[in-house]
Symmetry: C2
Subunit: 369 residues, 2 copies
Amino acid sequence: MSSKKLGAGVVRTDRLLMDGRTIRYYDTQGQSRDAVDQREAETQPQIGEMRLDALNNEWVVMAAHRQGRVFLPPKELNPLAPSRPGFLTEIPESDYEVVVFDNRSPSLRSPEKDVKIPNEIDFATPPIPAAGKCEVVCFTSNYEASFKDLSHHQIRTVLEAWRDRTAELSTFSYIEHIAPFENRGEEVGVTLSHPHGQIYAYPYLPPRTEKMLKVAEDHKTKTGRVLLDDLVTREIKDEVRVIARNADWVAFVPYAARYPFEIHVAPIRPVPDLAALDENACENFPAIAKEVLQRLDGVFDTKMAYIAAWHQAPVRTGRDVLRLHWQITSVRRAPGKLKYLAGSESAFGAFMMDLWPEQSAQQLRDVRI
Amino acid sequence: MSSKKLGAGVVRTDRLLMDGRTIRYYDTQGQSRDAVDQREAETQPQIGEMRLDALNNEWVVMAAHRQGRVFLPPKELNPLAPSRPGFLTEIPESDYEVVVFDNRSPSLRSPEKDVKIPNEIDFATPPIPAAGKCEVVCFTSNYEASFKDLSHHQIRTVLEAWRDRTAELSTFSYIEHIAPFENRGEEVGVTLSHPHGQIYAYPYLPPRTEKMLKVAEDHKTKTGRVLLDDLVTREIKDEVRVIARNADWVAFVPYAARYPFEIHVAPIRPVPDLAALDENACENFPAIAKEVLQRLDGVFDTKMAYIAAWHQAPVRTGRDVLRLHWQITSVRRAPGKLKYLAGSESAFGAFMMDLWPEQSAQQLRDVRI
């Protein structure tokens, strides 16, 4: 067991689960975290393998052990609840604020020995162990809550957990990119209703990050400027797509949104990643995060399915050209209607939007909160 | 009205619909196509606009007029049925074999005047009219049938229609890439149950095509060979992922499949596009197409949701390095379970596979047909 002080009075305490995985408690009330995982020890699944899709030069992770994982268990069998007598969960303690633990069925996991991905890859490149990390972030012990229902204090604690994980995972030799995200709603495949997110730490640059890096590098070469800065400046100037703003953050529907409801939340003072946010930006994040997600649920007065993903600069490259932003995308385009990624989007990557971004920004602004 | 003889005894006859759109009948029985569209004339929707997503340097098509389109109408209101007295549909005739007509709510449409996309693009590039074509391909007049239920003769007629559309659309100055595809199943967002596909003809290289082109060009430079040829050779040599084969085609689960059930069907003698297939390849396509889709439905003894997309070489570039293949992807990973494109796939483009490709190939081979 080890403890560590983070920002905003958050203390992290680490414990081990029955199979050797780590659970990290992020606390603000001086709790002691002594509970022992009483479940029978089980063997962790084998590491998966990464194969190169040579047609696209992209890695695909094979994690065949994941097929059997739990699927939408009822509340009584919620594995993200605190443990109680007679029902032992992933969290041994009887209560918690925020916890982050290693995924039981990870797509990516710590390798036995260091894994290096060759620089030169082609169709003959052999498979590579799927090294990396998959972590689960429980936002609250309250099963009924959503991210938008959390208090400012709770959101700040989640933010400290994300920042801590980003800082620590950045020191791992086999990790190249860190991606905290939340999937919300069965429409996007959520298998556990408990309010939680995930952190994927990849041993390679994910294709979309690689593309953004390339585009941002070209922009820097051509103009000397940082691309996201230019885009944020345009959004603030255009104003018509801005939906929320405070001293440190701005939230907008991007000019070329791909989803009926897509929101980017960017810090006004640009930083490469979560760990680099200053105290003011941390302090002012909860208000805008809550507002944006309340507006999203307010549009159709429903729990909107969404994916909320933190785009950060990669760990070892592009630190001067890629910038932190939070991308929230929702597939709901009207009550009872979803946008599907079908032929054009899925097979060709070509996005068709059924709504003007200005229209969806207006709908989001019109929500009374 | 004009008529034109194609391969395999197929004759194409063109007519105009009430709003000036073209419908093309592909017939093999010498039918005359005189029926006039008796519906009241309506105005075609305005052309949409393409905006550059500068963060990714990708075009996004804004087609806001599409929001109101019909959604899963009951069989009696099926707009892809032949017309009958008292019920006028998109197809004026009282029966048809295969028809292709311009989409009533197209994401991309013919521009008033020629549209040129600048070579140099950046975040200041203004929007451009969404020029292109969206066509609907009805595979049969039989509402109950699926592609896999079509006779060899019918599939051959569909193939001739695809080939004809590819050849003709390739002559349009504003079209750069032609993508015939079929979305099947409500799970992938199909809004009409009638067996049909679509053709999108883009004024730009779709992002996935652009990436494949870049990778194939690099491979050619490095090895002097065509990438898809090398991949097909490996699949035939490995054998373990091959699921069907005849003298002209091979069908396999690719080595680095991204979807629980993903099948590529490639001609043995490589060609850039559908129009370039020779007579033998055309003759032998229906058998393998039918077999592959029967196997897919057989795995879980259900109508599998799938996207079946033809990847072709672009119209004006990469003709010597990109090769025709038919990619079928299904999101069903088990009975009652779908694979969703959530955080990792959707936000970062990083695919995680829950099944070994060899496993899914085995399941597909095991289906009795």
